[in-house]
Structures are given as structure tokens and as C-alpha cells.
């Protein structure tokens, strides 16, 4: 399994291609917390096409991991 680490001073994520399911997926692992997210082809396409505004919303720390709604994310 090829794995790349994309890291900056702000975040560290291991990126790999996961072939365990019936079709390929991109596996993202937040190396600081161990949290994992899989993205399928259509999800990736959507990110590639998402307007900057949508990505910016995702970057708001209170959008997920640090929201007031405990247990979200």
C-alpha cells in the first residue's frame, strides 16, 4: 500500500489508496488523532469541483471537530 504523508505545521495526514472494498477509495488518516475518512470516486470528484466557498466552510474549525454539538464530526 503506497502511502503519502501530507504535512504542514498545521496538520498531518496520511493519504493512501484503499483497495479492500469492492471498488477503490482514498483513505485519509489524521495522524495526530488517528481519525480516518474514506472518500470514493464521486466524493473526490465533488471536492475537485466544489466552489472555494464550500471548502472554506469546511475549514471553519467549528464546522465539525470543534463544534458545540458534542459527538458530531
Amino acid at each position: 500500500m503506497n502511502q503519502w504523508i501530507i504535512a504542514s505545521e498545521f496538520a498531518e495526514v496520511a493519504v493512501s489508496l484503499d483497495l479492500d472494498a469492492n471498488g477503490p477509495r482514498l483513505r485519509l488518516e489524521d495522524l495526530r488523532s488517528g481519525h480516518v475518512r474514506h472518500l470514493d470516486a464521486l466524493e473526490l470528484e465533488s471536492i475537485a469541483w466544489a466552489p472555494d466557498e464550500r471548502l472554506r466552510e469546511l475549514m471553519d474549525p467549528s464546522a465539525g471537530r470543534w463544534s458545540d454539538r458534542a459527538g458530531d464530526a
Partner: protein, 414 residues
Amino acid sequence: MTVQYSELIQPERVHGSLYTDQDIFAEELQRIWYRTWVCVGHVSEVARPGDYVRKKVASQDVIMTRSKDGEVSLLLNRCAHRGNLVCEDQRGNSSTFRCPYHGWTYRNTGEMLGYPYNQGYGGKGKLSLNLGRVPRVDTYQGFVFASFAADGPSLKEHLGAAAGELDRLARLSPEGEIELTAGWLQHRAKANWKLLVENETDGYHPQFVHGSVFSVTGSHIGTLYSDKSAAVTRDLGGGHSENDLRPEFRKMEPMNWFGTSEARVPDYVAKMRALHGEQAEEILIEGAPHVMVFPNLFVAEISVFMINPVAVDETVQNVTAVQLKGAPEMNRRLLSQCIGSVGPAGMLLADDSEMYERNQRGVAARVPEWLDIRRGAHRERIDENGFRIGAANDETGMRGFWSHYRSLMEGKAR
């Protein structure tokens, strides 16, 4: 402040306290470093969207960024929440910065994106606290300049005749652009910043301070500053000055300004001829400038320096090799010459550093109180373009520096 600069700065001498007085240093920060245009870097250091590098303007910690739409910004490295440093690495790539203290997140244009657990602020979007931005940012030939004053002379006005010297540097590239991508060295000197600035275009010292290097390497640089030299020191106005070595280079073959010959850089010379036609000969003979751009950018032909004052008796000099876009053959040589002359064990910079520091220790002595800058005052001339010039080893550049410094410190110029 009660310092009478007209008493401390006279046409042919300057007072020693200008290099040692804490109050004067503090006033310089306000009147020069946080007001006039200061060079902070080069656009090529943040070539891709999301690229960032950390820089200094005196003690201000500044982040130079490039946004998605290509705009270069200078942000202050201070979280709008409780003032923590937002960014720690010297360089990286990120479209957003997240403060490590409480997670406040900003776009790389400085605009706030959000803050964790937003109910504490009444919900999402209630705060709009952005990172500070340097009020004015402008570029010339890719050099990025900052001014902390919201208004004042434009960068073009500030650069005046020095702009032409940066043009001369850029035209040495077959693509008309330089890049500062070789990485920076930092030299810390226990000396006042003005001693470094004065030394940059002081043509009187090379044969003494660098004599041993010239003799072991057989370099012809020393003779460029001898009494027989046709080179001149030019006061370009605005505190800028140069050693114009072209009158000597014109007596030599193309590429001799760089201590090399056409045969050793054939691809480069061919590209330049293809681009410039007949004018290429003149460019290849005249070479790069030796210019001090007030207050902190120094181009020493093959190396670029940015001077940053830390304290009244401490200065960091950042150095990198000039790289010419589209000239890989030249770039390797430019880099190795730069390392040899001003690198960590660089032969020229080691000599100069010793002089700045000795100078600083010397000026602490109480008597005599003055430093003499009269050399060549009696033989100064005005050249065909109206600039004051002196012989290669005269102190014309220093006098130009001090008269501009004085008008800034007295609030008569900006």
C-alpha cells in the same frame, strides 16, 4: 524626543552616539523601519498558491503569502485572539493558518475563517477579527517591499534612480526576471545596522579588509577600488548609492564582471544574444549593479542582502545568491560564487563582519566623538544625469545616506 539630528549629522562627520544610543534606535524604528519602504523578500519565494515564508521587518514578524488568486500579502504573525504566533515554520504551503493556542483559523489573505466551539461567541460568524496586514505592499522587479505607513511616497518614488539598478539586474536574465530561490543564509553581527549599510558601498576598505583574499585568489576586484580606477561612487538620492564599476568593466571582455569568460557559459551568452541582438554585448560587459537601496536592500552583483536591525548593536544580514530565470548554467556558478564570498565560511563576509563588530566596539569609546566621512568631498562632481559622484573609493555614498537619514529623522522627508 529631543535629539537634535542637525547637530549629530554634519556634512563631513557623524556623531558616534548615532550607533549606540537606544533612544535613537527606537526613533529609527518609528521614522524609518515602520514608515518608509523596506524590502522584505521576492515574489519567487512564494511561487505557488498557498506558499508562505516568514520574514522580518525590524522586530515585526511578517508572513509573506500567496493566495489562490495569485496575490502576495504580508500578514503580521499575531493571532487576533490572544496574540499568539499563528505560524511557526519558516516556510510551507497552506491555504489557511490555524493558531495553535485555541484553534482560530484564518485564510492566507488574513481573513478570519472561524473559531472552535462558536457558541461562546454567540454562534458562527459573530466575530470578524482578521490577522493584521502590512498597510502597503508593492513590488518592483519581483522584490517585495513593505511600508507600515498607510500613506506616503509610492514605492516608485521611494526607489527613484535605484529602480534603474534593479532593472539592470533583471535584464541579465534571458527571461528578464531574477529569482531568489537559492535559500537564505542569516549572519548575525553585533553591530548597528548603519555600519553595515555604510560598508556596502564603501570602496575605500576592500583593498585592506579583503586584501588577503584578493592576493590568494588573484582577484582583480581590489584594483576596481584603487586610486587609478575609473569606477565611481554615486549618490543616487533618497539615501541610495552605488559603486558604478562599469567604467572598468567596459575595458574588459564580456562576462569579466563575473570573473568568467564567454567560453565557460556559452549557452547563456547565446540566449542573451538571441534575445538582445547587438545590445547583448553591452549587457554582458556591464554586468550586475553594486547598489545599496535605502534602508536595507543591497545587491552586490551576484548576491542579494537584506539587512534587518535587531537591536542598537545587533543586526541580522540575510543573504542569497542571485538566480537568473532561464539561465541554469549561470545559476550554478552564481550560487557557488555567492557561497564562496558571503556563505557561512565566505571569505568576503567573514572579513566584513569582523569590521562591523570591531567598528561597533570602537564607537563605544567616548573620544573622539565623531566619525569622519569627508573622503573625496573636495573632488565630488555632478554627472551628466545630475547625480553626485566621487572616485571609486570616496565616501560619496555615505554622505548621501546621512543626508537622507537626517531628513527622515527630522521629519522633513518620508
